[in-house]
Every structure is written in C-alpha cells, then in structure tokens.
Symmetry: C2
C-alpha cells in the first residue's frame, strides 16, 4: 500500500535507479530531475524502506541497546541520551531488558544481530569469553565494564570512591564501612580497590561488607551489620543501596548523618528526593550513552585507538553526610 520507489519512478518519469540515487546519492543526479523526483515522492508520501536498503548495503541504521533493568533508575537517563544521540545521527534504537539474566542477554544479542549495525551492552552479566564470542557476530560496545579487545565506556569509579572517602575523612571520620555490591561486578571491585587504598593512605579504618544485591533491600538488610562495625560513615555501592541503608538505620533508631554518614554512588534522580537528601558520587550516565553510540558508529575508523573511554565522576554533597560524631 505505501508508495515504493517504483511508484515514484513511474510518476516522475525516470528509472528506479534515479529515484534511488536521489535519496542515497543526491549529488549524482541532475538538480532539476532531483527536484522533480523529490516532488513526486513528497506527493506520494514515499519514504525509503530502510530494511530493504539494509539488505543490500549491509547497514541497517539501527542500534541495539541491552540493559539489565530498564526500570532501574540508573538506566533511563542513559537510554534517553543514547536514543536522542543516535537519532540525531539518523539511527534508531532497539531496547531490550535482560532482567539481569546472562542467558537472555546472549539470546538477545543474537536475535538482534541481523537487524542492527551494532549493540550497546550495558552492565552485562555475561563472561568476557561469551562477550568476545558474540562480538564476532555483531559489533559490540560494552558500557560499565572493560572487556579486553572490545570498545568500552566505563565510569571512573576508582576516582569516585576516592572522592567519597576523602570527603568522609575530611569530615573527621576514622572508621568507614564499604557496603559492597554484587559479586562479580567490575564496578564493585574498582570501588573496593580504590576505597581501600584511599583509606590506607589517610590512615583510617575501612570495613568491607558484602557482597550484596544492588538494590534497596541490599542496603536496608545490612543496617544491623553496619551498626555492628562501629563505623561512623558508609560508602554504598549505589544510590539504591544507600537509600535502603538509610531506611534501615532509621528503623534501628540511628540518625543520618548525625550518628552515621551515608554516601551513595550514581546520583540517580532519587538522591535529590530522599530525606535526608543523599550525598553521592555522580556518574555521567547520559554522557556514557552518547559516548557508547559514538564509539559504535566510529566503527571502521580507528576503533582501537579509543577502545576504552573512561568518564570522570563528581562528588555531590548533600545532607546524608556530616561531621563524625564526637565521642563525648
């Protein structure tokens, strides 16, 4: 029913290839013919069928975006930025949610492979080996985790953790707890490594708790454990856990930040809204989305030279962190 290239050719009295060129290589066609063709196309409401075009060019102008959980507040800004950025470059975005399942992840990449020019893999749960294997089927850009040999976009969590610990040290805290995230998370290892190092340098004690699920329960469930450590400040793996922890501490009658300071990571929309508002390490999720799209589209150029983009973080001080309580 919709107009095809053939209809336009017929109406404008030229051959289909001329119509084709009018759209895919306008400079190769006489301006006056071009104008006429464009005119007829407009009249007929003709729009090139990208799928048909892809069949022959091999470029779909589609990108796949695979995330662990669309509803996790960390992702929407990333998705939004990626979509907007991609569309600005005339690419459309497939979105898929793996529900944190590595098998679903693999299946999804395979299923999408033929319909996209590449896939953005956000916080994948698959093994490096699995990811490398998939990358032979379709160009991949990994977000939130470095995979050797593949282009990736990561946040500088080492820097973020350092900023957070230094902030707490500056407030006089001498015993800090690190509320760890899920086992096997690269981010978690980075945070732990950097926090440990920073604490040692500053000669303060650091107690590591975890692994924990990266959600509110993972925070609220550890409130008692945190209290038992005797720490006066906590750095949590992410905002969700930080918020959960504050809840848990509240239930246990511990005031934040008067008795215990809590710092999160990510600066999701949540952190401005909770009470107390959350001191947190802002990760540039929107920038990550755009960078990932850029890396994918740079395919063909010297992709190796920018194989790993590391985005800087920033400490946002709000009301959940304060001076260490004085022992009087």
């Amino acid at each position: 029913m919709p107009a095809t290239i053939r209809d336009v050719a017929k109406v404008s009295g030229v051959h289909v290839s001329t119509v084709s060129r009018t759209f895919s290589a306008p400079h190769l066609v006489n301006p006056s013919t071009r104008a006429r063709v464009l005119d007829c196309a407009e009249q007929l409401g003709y729009r090139p069928n990208r799928a048909a075009r892809a069949l022959i060019t091999g470029r779909t102008h589609n990108i796949g975006l695979i995330v662990a959980d669309i509803a996790n507040p960390f992702f929407p800004p990333l998705i939004k930025a990626a979509e907007t950025h991609a569309r600005g470059r005339d690419y459309h975005l497939f979105i898929a949610d793996t529900n944190e399942d590595a098998n679903v992840e693999e299946e999804l990449v395979l299923a999408l492979a033929k319909q996209v020019d590449g896939v953005l893999l956000c916080s994948p749960r698959m093994s490096n080996t699995q990811i490398e294997r998939l990358s032979r089927d379709v160009p991949l850009v990994v977000v939130n985790r470095p995979v050797p040999g593949l282009p990736a976009v990561v946040m500088d969590h080492a820097q973020g953790a350092r900023l957070a610990i230094e902030h707490l040290v500056g407030l006089g805290h001498t015993h800090i707890a690190l509320l760890g995230g899920p086992r096997g998370s690269w981010t978690n290892r980075e945070i732990r490594r950097s926090a440990t190092l920073t604490a040692r340098t500053a000669s303060v004690e650091l107690t590591v708790l975890g692994p924990n699920p990266p959600n509110e329960e993972g925070g609220s469930g550890q409130a008692e454990a945190v209290i038992r450590t005797g720490a006066t400040a906590v750095l949590a793996y992410n905002d969700l856990m930080a918020v959960g922890l504050i809840d848990g501490l509240d239930s246990a009658g511990v005031a934040v930040p008067t008795q215990i300071s809590v710092v999160g990571i990510d600066d999701t929309a949540l952190s401005r809204r909770t009470r107390p508002t959350l001191t947190t390490v802002a990760t540039p999720t929107a920038a990550a989305g755009r960078a990932a799209v850029d890396m994918l589209l740079a395919h063909g150029d010297d992709r190796r030279t920018t194989a790993l983009v590391t985005l800087q973080t920033e400490l946002v001080i709000r009301n959940s962190s304060g001076p260490a309580p004085t022992n009087i």
Copy 2:
C-alpha cells in the same frame, strides 16, 4: 559473513525453499529432513534474517514505542513491561523519545513505520487529526489518551480522582485544592471533571489551580498559590508535582500532612522514597504496557470490540495525607 539460508541448503543437501519451510512452516517438511536441516543450521550458526523475511511477508515482528520522556519516572515501568511482553511474543521493540515535541512525534512514527508492525504512542502531544492521519500509514495504539476510532489504553483517572477526593473528605477536609497539569491533557480534564463532581457531591469546596507544567517545578512553584487558597488538602496532577509541592510548602514553613495534606497520582518509584512518603493514586503502568502490546498484536481480529481498554486505579495511602487540622 553470517550464514544464509543458501549455506544451510548447500550443506544439508536440500533446496533453499525446504530450509525456509523448516523455519517458517516446519509441519510441511519431513521430520527427518527437518532434523537434518536444523542440525546443519545449528552447526553454521544460522539465524533467519528477519528483515529479509519482513520484506516478503510484510510482518517485521518489531514494535515501535514512542514516549514523551524516557527519563520521566512514569515511563520506565511501562517500557519494561511492554518490552518483556513483546519479546515473549517474539517481537522486538524500538524505543524513541520525543522530548514532548509533537513534530518529533510525527516524524518518528513515519520514520519507524516501515520497520515495525505497529506503533505504541504513549501520552502523545499530537492532535487527534494528526494521529488519525498517521494511523493510515501504520497501525497505532494510543496509551493514556482516547482517540476516536483508534485502539487505546487509558487509566481510569476519573475513578482515581474520586478515590483521592473521597479519601481527603473522609479525613475531614472541607476545602481541597486541585493542582492541575498541562493544558490540553486529556488526563488533566478527566481528573478535573471527576474531582469537581466528587467534591460537589460531598459538599466540599474545590479550588482548581493551573495549568501547570507536569514536573517538580510545576509543584514547588505553586506552593504559595496553594497556601493562599486556604485549602487544607491538595490533589496534584502527578507524583512529581506533588513532591515538588511538598518541597515548596516545606520551604514556606507549612508542614505536610499536619497543616496541609498532599495526594499525588501515578505511584511512581519516587513516592515511596520521599519524606513524608506520598499518598497517591496508583496507575497500573506495567499493565498498560502489556495491554497496548496485546491490542496491537490483536490487529486483524476484531479490534473494534476492544477499542478502548480502561485500567482501574488504586489509592495508596502513605504519610502525606492526614486529618484536617482542627480550627482551635
């Protein structure tokens, strides 16, 4: 590079059409041949190219989902549910963000039209006329707004507003303010109509404020105006505005819910997290996403008979609403 139907045909010693049938009409092929073909396909890592298939069948097995703002907390649960539900039925999802712009919306539908079997239009900003016109190019299902003649999924906001007002009346409030949303919003009109009616029935005063932008600023900016009305309770167009309003009231030294009760609409993830936690009308966003997918895929069946699905809402009572202050 990836295996095609031809490669499989060659290796398994049958004609391409047999391979094709093995995947698209397995019952038409001899079990033993089928097994052999499947085996070779597996070996070669063959996967049918859906775009190529679509070219001939006319069915892409893709769905487009267009929302006003991916990062608005209302949408992610809907997107997630739609994606999961669609994938369960072997459909993939394109996502696109219009940034609340009607022109972008139209352009997006047109751009996606050839690559999808239909488009889910969430909270569209376009006119009914525009939408109807587009629906001639591609099957459309509208979410959050009824469009005459088109399948749509809406929330029963009339019911929701009634529940909210009755709740406040039950708490003894006799003067309630309605913090209206954006001009031209169907939802807004429904809420207003129902709130007005319910208030009149209960013989309580209702003061309508607005239109306002449907975000936190739209709430915080109206705090003074709300106070001036003298109302002791407010129903806001959505959670974001309710939360903003609570902030604004707080800044003005008005306590919630002691002096003024605030009720939101939507029950976004936010509402459990703010302090005080937000009493709100829960709208079943996930169910809406699934219902919209179902309606789209039911195309061909008797679509008219279920042209408008209305989803029930539910009042969630938390801590931002309380008894009307006594005038002593």
